[in-house]
């Protein structure tokens, strides 16, 4: 008991210290948000705009904090069996849905089963190894897997796994079950999160008010308004003019302006996402099927220059996995260093000598709309030109890009980024032979085996060894060339305290329960 009290005291004190002073109650916290959610069914579809708001209204079984650690949410503790097949979650007692209905293990089982049976659900694939879900009592959930899968907890805490109210969704109309996509509560959500839904004026704002019964304690601010500001310049002006307190739609170009403004906090944190170029290895005929040509490109590129001119914020990348998840990052598997003479030599060896016009061959660099992508492509074109590779730039809007690059593999080089957490198992998606985002068409049996084995181990040190080996192989095969590490950005007025990025280990990455306004 004493230990428990001491622990609570430490947590409370750290929250107070980290958040900078004694929290004040009241006020309206306004966030500039870049887009409307597509609905408030948080598990049904990929919805990046919605996911920024769901954390206020809903809770998960377990969640990720801003440093990508798995932390408790509706489950206060959990155990994993020796064989790695059984996960037992112990739920918090006394939690209520926003409509006053008691939350129980049945809600968890119902939600996860819905995700498992709806292929359009973004987390569907992460739950394919779930064999069954049992609820021995109202506060215990037991999930059994068909095979040991260590990344399971990370994925359960990540995306599209918000617990939904069974009593409002498991309903029938004229004798037929109501599809969860057309349930009226998708427009009027009921959750267990720190804030209750008030209104959604489409295209304008979403308002939530504090839930006094929230299980982590009553939130400090009375209301949060997500003001939909699709244009980043307008969002910046609204932020500077005091119409919003937190700018959630900041571009790289605005960071340097914001850093100079008194009263504005700009906090950058390493994020498990990286800018890279992918070579066409397994798709249509391309010079990049030849490893020598890929290495030649890597030697010809000066990624510091590309980073400084196009990306500007974050870090220049050195390795083949994100350093934001340090235990799986191999610091010895590095990108080739800039050496244009070696690039020229390799290109000659690969059978691409300079022609009469000075060029060796032409390559198509495909990218999608966005300033940093355009800037990156321009610098890459200029650098490759120097070693005799003529680059033709092709820019597409995102739908056409998906069609051309992901489906038709009709490119030589492309630019990408994307979330590489919460677990290195995600590498399967990018470099596994049947990975969904393996745009390169890269296939290496050894890599596949290592990734498969790493996912089945529970010991983090053992897993790390496998991932280190994968990165070594990648540094020899070079299916991609990584340029920069993305930094997540938190831009707010200095009177806003207790934001999720300051409270790792306490609240989820988009949970504003501890935010307070010091004014």
């Amino acid at each position: 008991m004493k230990k428990c009290f001491a622990f609570l005291l430490v947590v409370v004190l750290s929250v107070v210290l980290l958040a900078g002073g004694t929290p004040k109650k009241g006020g309206t916290f306004i966030i500039a948000h870049w887009g409307d959610p597509i609905s408030f069914n948080p598990d049904a579809k990929v919805d990046d705009a919605g996911s920024g708001i769901y954390g206020c209204i809903f809770s998960k079984l377990i969640t990720l904090d801003a440093d990508y650690n798995v932390i408790p949410d509706l489950a206060e503790s959990w155990e994993v069996s020796e064989d790695g097949l059984t996960y037992t979650f112990h739920l918090r007692k006394g939690v209520k849905w926003h409509d006053g209905y008691p939350f129980t293990s049945a809600d968890v089982a119902w939600t996860l089963n819905q995700i498992r049976t709806h292929k359009e659900a973004p987390a569907w694939k992460n739950l394919v190894d779930v064999e069954n879900i049992e609820t021995p009592d109202e506060y215990t959930v037991v999930i059994k897997l068909s095979r040991p899968y260590a990344p399971f907890l990370g994925f359960l805490a990540w995306y599209g796994t918000w617990i939904m109210p069974q009593h409002l969704y498991d309903i029938t109309e004229n004798g037929s079950p109501v599809d969860w996509l057309s349930n009226p509560h998708n427009q009027n959500p009921v959750g267990t999160g720190p804030f209750k839904f008030v209104e959604w004026v489409k295209g304008d704002h979403v308002t939530v008010e504090k839930n006094p019964d929230y299980f982590l304690g009553e939130p400090y601010v009375d209301k949060i308004v997500f003001k939909i500001l699709p244009d980043e310049n307008t969002a910046l002006q609204a932020f500077l003019n005091g119409e919003v307190d937190y700018d959630g739609n900041v571009s790289n170009a605005q960071i340097s302006i914001l850093k100079r403004i008194p009263g504005v906090v700009v906090k950058m944190k390493p994020a498990p996402s990286r800018y890279y170029i992918a070579f066409n290895i397994g798709g249509r005929e391309s010079p990049f099927h030849d490893k020598k040509v890929r290495f030649a490109v890597a030697y010809a590129l000066n990624r510091k220059e590309i980073f400084d001119k196009a990306i500007k914020y974050g870090e220049v990348a050195e390795g083949f996995y994100t350093p934001a998840i340090p235990w799986a990052y191999n610091p010895n598997a590095k990108m080739p260093e800039y050496n244009p003479q070696l690039a020229e030599k390799l290109l000659d060896e690969a059978g691409y000598p300079r022609q009469a016009d000075g060029y060796r061959f032409e390559a198509v660099l495909v990218y999608f709309q966005g300033q940093e992508w355009r800037d990156m492509a321009t610098v890459i074109k200029e650098q490759l030109d120097k070693v005799g590779i003529k680059v033709k730039l092709e820019e597409y809007e995102i739908a056409a890009y998906i069609e051309k690059v992901l489906k038709a593999k009709d490119f030589d080089i492309t630019e990408l980024d994307g979330f590489q957490g919460p677990d290195p198992d995600n590498l399967k998606l990018r470099v596994g032979s049947d990975g969904d985002i393996n745009v390169m068409g890269y296939s290496n049996e050894e890599v596949d085996t290592l990734l498969q084995k790493a996912g089945e181990l529970s010991d983090i040190k053992e897993r790390a060894e496998y991932y280190f080996k994968v990165q070594e192989i990648l540094s020899q095969d070079l299916p991609m060339y990584v340029i920069g590490e993305v930094a997540s950005r938190n831009v707010h007025k200095d009177y806003v305290k207790g934001l999720p990025y300051e409270l790792t280990g306490v609240v989820g990455y988009n949970n504003y329960a501890k935010v307070w306004l010091d004014k």
Binding site: D204, E243, I398, L406
Partner: protein, 324 residues
């Protein structure tokens, strides 16, 4: 049926046929664009083919395109504008919420642009003010070439950020909970900058067309004759020239109103004005076929009505144009 009734019936039938043809063309053109809703819905991060196939099956996107077309047209005849794949709602329910903000902005903006543009042209021409004509013409040329997006941002920088006269964006002050007259005043306060931007973008067209039309009229024989018989300049202007010169801008006004539903999309984005234009752009980017088609359908109806009304008004203003 009288003369006017026959005219109206003929125009309505023609409009219905035209709308049907436009929608058929739209349907196939939209489906020809690269990318499909299912792939976009799964995104770059989760493009699993199993998920894409499941989504296609769910929304009937795996059916042959002709089957989809028949279904779309038969739904349309039943008054069903279609189902948004992205939002899982009827297209009409999504449009309904956005139509008021757009109409209030675009109709007010177009009417003001018309009145001010035409008035300025008449005023400058009547005064024969060479200097005034040059100044207004130069300004109108500049505004005509100005992108609405850019002008909107400049308006925000001047009137919101520098002078603090108007809010940056949105329809209401979200920190306050006004009701009654205060709420209306807050709405007008928020509406002013987007309205002003739209008006400045549209006004040059009305100014230039009216001006050109007046100058053209001055060259007509009837003006020479009337001047020769000693009619006063004011009477000549008011009774003859203005009446004749107003026809071309009136026609343009009709077209402008027709495009009002979606014509202000970029201005809506800059000022975060929650209208139809933004909904349309979003639907296009997400290839939300049924929602795009529903918006185009309403646009086609709106344009047809506007064109018929323009014909009627034109005939009333100028009796030489018969309703045939």
């Amino acid at each position: 049926m009288n003369h006017f009734g026959r005219f109206l019936a003929r125009r309505i039938v023609a409009a219905v046929i035209l709308i049907f043809m436009v929608m058929t063309l739209n349907f196939f053109v939209i489906h020809l664009a690269p990318g499909d809703p299912a792939t976009i819905m799964t995104g770059i991060e989760q493009p699993s083919q199993e998920v894409v196939q499941a989504l296609k099956a769910k929304y009937g996107l795996d059916q042959p395109i002709f089957v989809q077309y028949i279904k779309y047209i038969s739904n349309l005849f039943r008054g069903d504008l279609g189902y948004s794949y992205v939002y899982d709602q009827s297209s009409w329910s999504l449009i309904r919420e956005r139509i008021f903000p757009t109409l209030i902005l675009t109709i007010t903006g177009s009417v003001l642009a018309f009145i001010i543009g035409v008035y300025l042209a008449i005023f400058v021409s009547f005064l024969k003010a060479k200097f005034g004509d040059t100044v207004v013409s130069v300004i109108s040329y500049i505004l005509y070439a100005t992108p609405s997006f850019w002008l909107g941002l400049i308006m925000i920088l001047i009137f919101s950020s520098k002078l603090s006269w108007f809010p940056t964006s949105g329809m209401f002050n979200l920190r306050e909970t006004y009701t009654g007259f205060a709420k209306i005043a807050d709405f007008i306060h928020h509406l002013t900058l987007p309205l002003l931007t739209l008006m400045l973008i549209q006004m040059p067209v009305f100014y230039r067309v009216t001006r050109a039309s007046i100058l053209q009229n001055f060259k007509e024989d009837y003006v020479t004759t009337l001047t020769a018989v000693g009619i006063s300049r004011e009477r000549l202007f008011r009774k003859y020239i203005v009446k004749n010169a107003i026809i071309p801008p009136l026609t343009i006004f009709g077209i402008t109103l027709g495009f009002a539903i979606t014509g202000s999309a970029l201005i809506e984005i800059v000022f975060a004005w929650p209208g139809m234009g933004r909904l349309m752009l979003d639907a296009i980017f997400r290839r939300d076929y049924q929602l795009i088609l529903a918006i185009y359908f309403l646009m086609a109806i709106f344009i047809s009505i506007a064109m018929i009304l323009t014909d009627i008004v034109t005939a009333i203003v100028d009796p030489r144009i018969s309703l045939t």
